[in-house]
Symmetry: C2
Subunit: 399 residues, 2 copies
């Protein structure tokens, strides 16, 4: 029998940190304080899995619950994925897609368990129960929802108003996801704000089957490096599988404005400390860089341990901050002599595109021995031992 931690302070932290909304907080608090082991649910499709820090917000919340002793069921939406293909033929099912799902699932798990504790997680596939539902069952689920309720869902309403087609099958998705909770008798389901409707679908269906409604924990969405929500399509994401140097570097290059959202959502540094840091910047004029390093180091520590985090910090300071050129990150070139900057860079082979080279020079991306050169026609005497920086982190040393 697992011992369940019911420390009220930890529970309050879990109920609030990074949380957008809980349906309902009172109800979930009671469940957490009861000492009963809770059954947590996360559902996911696994097509082309690439988990990034955006996903990790929900996953770390699962981890928090696990650390109190609760158990997670990860539901692989293999049923949803199989029927997800909008072809114009019915009954066409390709074997390859089943294979692809298996492969994707392996990849997904590998990344998922970087954040979530594997030993407290069970994996299930929703085809196990959804394939057994018949037309009559579907109709009875459908009766629980009205067209207006479904259309009022923001994502649908936007498409409806823009006269973009919404398949009737798409309206069946919340039913499926909701029924997953019925089949597994979940206590809490997790998701981001975009999942609110689906989480509440489960909450709505469970009492129809005589079950206690699940609580729904809706997490805030993480902002990407550019200030927009982190997502694969925006290319502003940090994969959880990144190596320490990449995670560190990418965190350091996010805009300052979102730093404290990252602290709240992706670290577990006590919120009191986080607020003190914020104050130090706002009131005492402290350099944000100092705290961003703490952030980056904490995240790398979570994924790669403290040793790698220290190394990543040093590497960052050397290559980026102190602009120290190490052998490891420098390409040796034999080009030298007096010539225009553009000519040198062409011969050094920094890029195949002349216009790209000119652009980088103009934008201040080129340095010769740490001195910026912004005119690509400028003639310079390139000497042995000189270091030429091109773009963000490419170094060329003349041998």
């Amino acid at each position: 029998m697992t011992k369940i931690d019911i420390d009220p302070q930890k529970i309050e932290e879990i109920l609030n940190r990074g949380v957008h909304e809980v349906y309902t907080k009172e109800e979930l608090r009671e469940k957490l304080l009861s000492g009963k082991q809770l059954h947590l649910k996360l559902g996911t499709d696994v097509t082309g899995p690439l988990l990034h820090l955006g996903h990790s917000v929900v996953h770390r919340k699962l981890r928090d619950f696990q650390e109190l002793g609760h158990k997670v069921t990860l539901i692989i939406g293999d049923f949803t994925t199989l029927v997800g293909d909008h072809s114009d033929k019915v009954d066409v099912r390709t074997e390859s897609s089943t294979e692809q799902i298996k492969k994707d699932e392996q990849e997904y798990k590998q990344q998922f368990f970087k954040t979530v504790l594997e030993e407290q997680t069970e994996i299930r596939h929703n085809s196990e129960w959804l394939k057994d539902l018949d037309f009559n069952d579907v109709i009875n689920l459908a009766k629980q929802f009205t067209i207006s309720q479904l259309l009022e869902r923001e994502a649908f309403m936007i498409r409806y108003k823009a006269q973009k087609p919404i398949g009737l099958d798409e309206f069946l998705y919340p039913l499926m996801q909701g029924y997953d909770s019925v089949a597994l008798k979940c206590d809490v389901e997790f998701g981001g704000t975009d999942q609110t409707f689906n989480l509440l679908a489960g909450r709505k269906l469970m009492p129809v089957f005589g079950l206690e409604p699940q609580s729904a924990m809706v997490m805030k969405l993480l902002t990407g490096s550019d200030g927009r929500p982190m997502g694969k399509s925006l290319k502003n994401y940090i994969p959880v599988s990144d190596n320490p140097n990449d995670i560190f570097g990418k965190i350091m290059s996010t805009v300052d404005e979102v730093m404290f959202d990252y602290f709240e959502l992706v670290t577990r540094i006590p919120m009191t400390e986080v607020l003190e840091m914020k104050q130090a910047i706002e009131e005492d004029g402290e350099n944000p860089m100092k705290f961003k390093k703490i952030l980056a180091k904490d995240i790398v520590t979570f994924y790669h341990g403290p040793k790698k985090a220290v190394e990543a910090e040093k590497e960052f300071e050397k290559t980026v901050q102190n602009k120290e050129v190490t052998k490891a990150n420098t390409i040796e070139v034999s080009t030298h002599g007096k010539m225009p900057v553009l000519e040198f860079l062409k011969q050094a082979g920094v890029s195949k595109s002349n216009s790209h080279i000119k652009e980088v020079v103009k934008q201040g991306g080129v340095e010769v021995d740490r001195k910026k050169v912004t005119d690509f026609t400028q003639v310079i005497d390139f000497k042995e031992g000189s270091v030429i920086k091109f773009g963000k982190r490419a170094y060329y040393r003349i041998k």
Copy 2:
């Protein structure tokens, strides 16, 4: 092997008489001319069946096709009916409803075969195939329709705009009905204008399953005695199970304006003759009553044979038209003497409600020996042998 009649003139009549729209007329004409025996489909729910002349419009059209040699499948929507109950519990299925469906089905058939030829009709239940569809099948059917297409359906849009709830299950109904056509490989489906969307759903789904799309024959709706579409809820209907006198009487009491719609939709009197009658009224000032009798007699003849039709006409002429009071339709009362009309009627027991009696008198519904009395305070000497008419067809004779 049934011999199929391909007389082009009969086919043109079938394609046009009482027809609102055919999808498509060219396609169906080709099928009818091919000499192949066509498989006609009519789907129906059988809850509380009471077939009236409004339904008979479609049924007579089926009969027309049968008379050319084609065969009908009547689909009893037992699956639809079973799931039709909007309760707040899933999986609750009462045995009684199955029993009720059986009973209703017997009643339905009895009335249905008053119009349609039983020997050329097969009866099927859509539970036979719909109960075998699983969630995946439902999703694949659902993919063929968009939310907009379903919402654009007039009946749904009206409710949506009025913010009246539409259950998601209701959006699944056209899929069921459409799949019935797939399961039975129908050639033509029939319905009234309110069924257009459902008929086209079958037409849309069949090619997805590699079948030739069914033709859809949409019939005009029959107007009731009061000029509104005939329907049970409006209480303006004429049941096909009515006795000859009632059918005759109710046809005679419909408003003149709809008489020729009845000729077109509910009789098979040649349209040339129908148009001549119309002309005779409009141009030669003929009395519509004369033609309405032809209409009533024709409909009674169809349901009860020519002998009963002649009797019904005579009965109508006696009791209503000639106001002849027969022993059979008269109640004997012993009240007599000088008294106000109201007093007499009260004593004769024509109604328990004084205000109702006053109302009938004021509206000219009371006659004493064929003389109208419109003042209920008028004092009359009620004598033995007098006949007092109250309302439309109640007669009282003083003994």
